[in-house]
């Protein structure tokens, strides 16, 4: 009997070794360690997609569901939320441009990231970590961890580096296909068996009482899950609500940190985009809104500009407005990451 007790005690005493080789997170962090959480699935437990199959067969989409669209001036690709909800990151390439669509379902933020870091092309994966409920991607080249909403590397070899972002447009599939009828769409044939079309987070999108993890700071000026378009200029943030726009395209001219910008939105079409008011050559056209498919603006030179800022008609055809650094997201996330955010009124 004594032997048995000794053996049990010895066995328990030698078993207490915690281990974690699932997250490369050693070293300094630029964000508070106490505000980082393990989301549950683990590193790569939510599998990022690599160059997924695109299709023109779009029966699996309904008009009201959200997509993140990318257009490079020639080709358009739609990345449905119903795919991104399950994978969060899609590493892709279009006409030689390596990029990733990086999407966090908990903060509702979808951003386009250039996959070239310090001259090296990489891919991004899901670290399984969250900061203030927001996705922390890692780059597979160096294993460094990045903050999606800050758009910078917060831990690892590339700490302090900023990622180069590019414009994507988040809107409904109905609006997107009306603007880009030839757009390809990431198909449900991803190589993974998932319940695409079934939202994995229940009432999370609309339930303002539901947050997964604590926030370091919360701004209650708007309901948590209000989707807003945030514009970042030199760390100054201003957010625009759908209620500021009408049922047809509406133009708002504003100024953030000394920069004149234009914001075009349409509450019915679930669309808000923003650009610097000045063209790259310094010209500042006088814009007005139009509702001609993807063309949403025209100017006094009779140029027509689309949602990605490309001049699609007129003497400046081929030129492009300069998009702001901006993306859609839930208000609570903007308020937490950028506590001095200004709400447009």
């Amino acid at each position: 009997m004594k032997k048995l007790v000794v053996i049990i005690a010895l066995s328990l005493s030698t078993l207490g070794c915690d281990k974690d080789d699932g997250v490369e997170a050693e070293g300094n962090w630029l964000i508070p360690l106490g505000a980082i959480q393990d989301g549950g699935p683990g590193k790569d437990g939510i599998p990022a997609l690599e160059n997924p199959e695109k299709t023109s067969e779009t029966n699996f989409l309904v008009d009201s569901e959200l997509v993140i669209g990318y257009y490079d001036g020639n080709n358009a690709v739609a990345y449905p939320h119903q795919i991104l909800d399950w994978h969060e990151i899609i590493n892709d390439e279009l006409n030689g441009f390596p990029y990733a669509i990086v999407y966090c379902p908990l903060t509702g933020t979808g951003i386009g990231w250039d996959r070239t870091l310090n001259g090296n092309i990489t891919t991004f994966g899901v670290s399984g970590l969250l900061y203030n409920n927001n996705l922390i991607p890692y780059d597979r080249g160096t294993g460094s961890n990045w903050s999606q909403m800050r758009n910078d590397c917060v831990n690892g070899e590339l700490e302090g580096e900023e990622v180069v972002t590019f414009q994507v447009v988040e809107t409904t599939w109905g609006t997107w296909k009306s603007m880009y009828p030839d757009s390809k769409v990431v198909s449900q044939n991803t190589g993974f068996s998932r319940s695409y079309g079934v939202y994995p987070y229940g009432s999370y999108r609309t339930n303002n009482n539901l947050l997964t993890f604590p926030l370091t700071y919360e701004d209650n000026r708007l309901p948590r899950k209000d989707r807003v378009h945030g514009v970042i200029i030199n760390r100054n943030v201003k957010v625009y609500e759908f209620k500021s726009f009408d049922e047809s395209n509406k133009l708002i001219m504003d100024n953030i940190a000394g920069s004149d910008i234009i914001i075009v939105g349409n509450a019915t079409n679930n669309l808000i985009v923003s650009f610097y008011a000045a063209l790259p050559d310094g010209t500042t056209p006088e814009f007005s809104t139009i509702n001609e498919g993807r063309a949403i603006l025209q100017d006094e030179e009779n140029n027509k500009w689309d949602v990605f800022g490309y001049a699609v008609e007129g003497p400046r055809t081929g030129e492009r407005l300069v998009p702001t650094k901006s993306y859609m997201g839930y208000w609570f996330a903007w308020g937490t990451f950028y506590p001095s955010s200004v709400i447009y009124e």
Partner: protein
């Protein structure tokens, strides 16, 4: 006899230590609880090693073709019971838990493992039926005491998720009932119905500011056991069906979508009596049917091995 005990314990230790190739969720308290009715003044002890593996990804009833993630919970469970009177007895249930999460990616396997003392249960039991009846009905109730840690972090100090913690952080209440019926035509054969209802309390300090509550749980086990002799060796085999139903977890009173469900398991078990007061037990738990809310990793299999012994009250001369 000592050798047998030694090798059984060694078997437990070896599996536990090599458990890195092996996961699950939750401390298997209510699935194992409840020692048999015994003589007045006797002590009973059951030491069990339990390994619960979850690598089946399901959406509702549908099994998804995915082997990306695996969760294992290894538990060393020590249950001791004392019978006070012919009616009253009490069990104390202690646990030591090892939670493992493994991800299998193109770059290899990545693991996160935590260890620690798990939660405990005290169960006060009352025997409703009287001696001599072919039917034995015992009811019990007690608290689950949150001895286990819920603030385990990884090597870098980052908080791990609730399901990787060895404890739940909440005081829970258990109601337990066990019917055993010995067939008059075959005394060695027993039919049993055991039900456990666990009403979970709240962890008011999860991640500093979240009130987290695991979903309430109900289990019903219906089984039959018999004694057979093969080559002069006594064997007590049993077969049972276990139904388990768990509600959704709550985060600050808001339901978490991908938690909770219904499961039906087939449980073959074998008990080998070494002496009248000592036996070793083995059991498996294999899912027959399951329905999970939304998409979840769900149990793939579960195995236990245990040693049971009893110390009877010394007889006065």
């Amino acid at each position: 006899m000592r050798r047998i005990v030694f090798f059984c314990v060694l078997f437990i230790i070896t599996n536990y230590s090599n458990g890195q190739t092996c996961c699950s969720g939750g401390v298997p308290l209510s699935g194992n609880i409840g020692l048999p009715v015994s003589e007045v003044g006797s002590w009973q002890m059951l030491l069990t090693y339990d390994i619960n593996t979850l690598r089946t990804l399901k959406s509702g009833e549908k099994t998804l073709n995915d082997r990306l993630r695996e969760r294992k919970t290894h538990s060393v469970l020590l249950e001791t019971g004392y019978t006070f009177t012919s009616k009253w007895s009490a069990d104390l249930f202690l646990s030591y838990i090892r939670q493992e999460r493994h991800i299998f990616t193109f770059s290899g396997k990545q693991s996160t493992i935590t260890n620690g003392v798990g939660d405990a249960v005290v169960l006060l039991k009352y025997k409703v039926t009287n001696e001599g009846s072919p039917l034995t009905w015992v009811i019990g109730a007690g608290p689950k005491i949150p001895l286990g840690k819920t603030d385990k972090t990884n090597n870098n100090g980052i908080s791990l998720s609730a399901d990787l913690q060895p404890g739940s952080g909440s005081w829970d209440g258990l109601l337990w009932s066990s019917f055993d019926y010995s067939l008059p035509s075959r005394k060695s054969m027993t039919l049993s119905v055991v039900s456990t209802w666990k009403v979970n309390g709240k962890n008011n300090d999860y991640l500093g500011s979240i009130v987290y509550k695991f979903g309430n749980e109900y289990q019903l086990v219906i089984g039959a056991a018999d004694r057979i002799v093969i080559n002069r060796m006594i064997i007590d085999p049993s077969l049972s069906l276990q139904y388990r139903r768990a509600g959704r977890d709550l985060n600050n009173d808001q339901e978490i979508n991908a938690t909770g469900g219904k499961w039906l398991f087939f449980r073959p078990a074998l008990s080998l009596p070494i002496r009248s007061a000592l036996s070793i037990n083995f059991s498996a738990s294999l899912p027959v049917y399951s329905f999970v809310n939304n998409t979840q990793l769900t149990p793939t299999n579960r195995f236990t091995a245990g040693i049971f012994f009893k110390i009877n009250k010394p007889q006065s001369l």
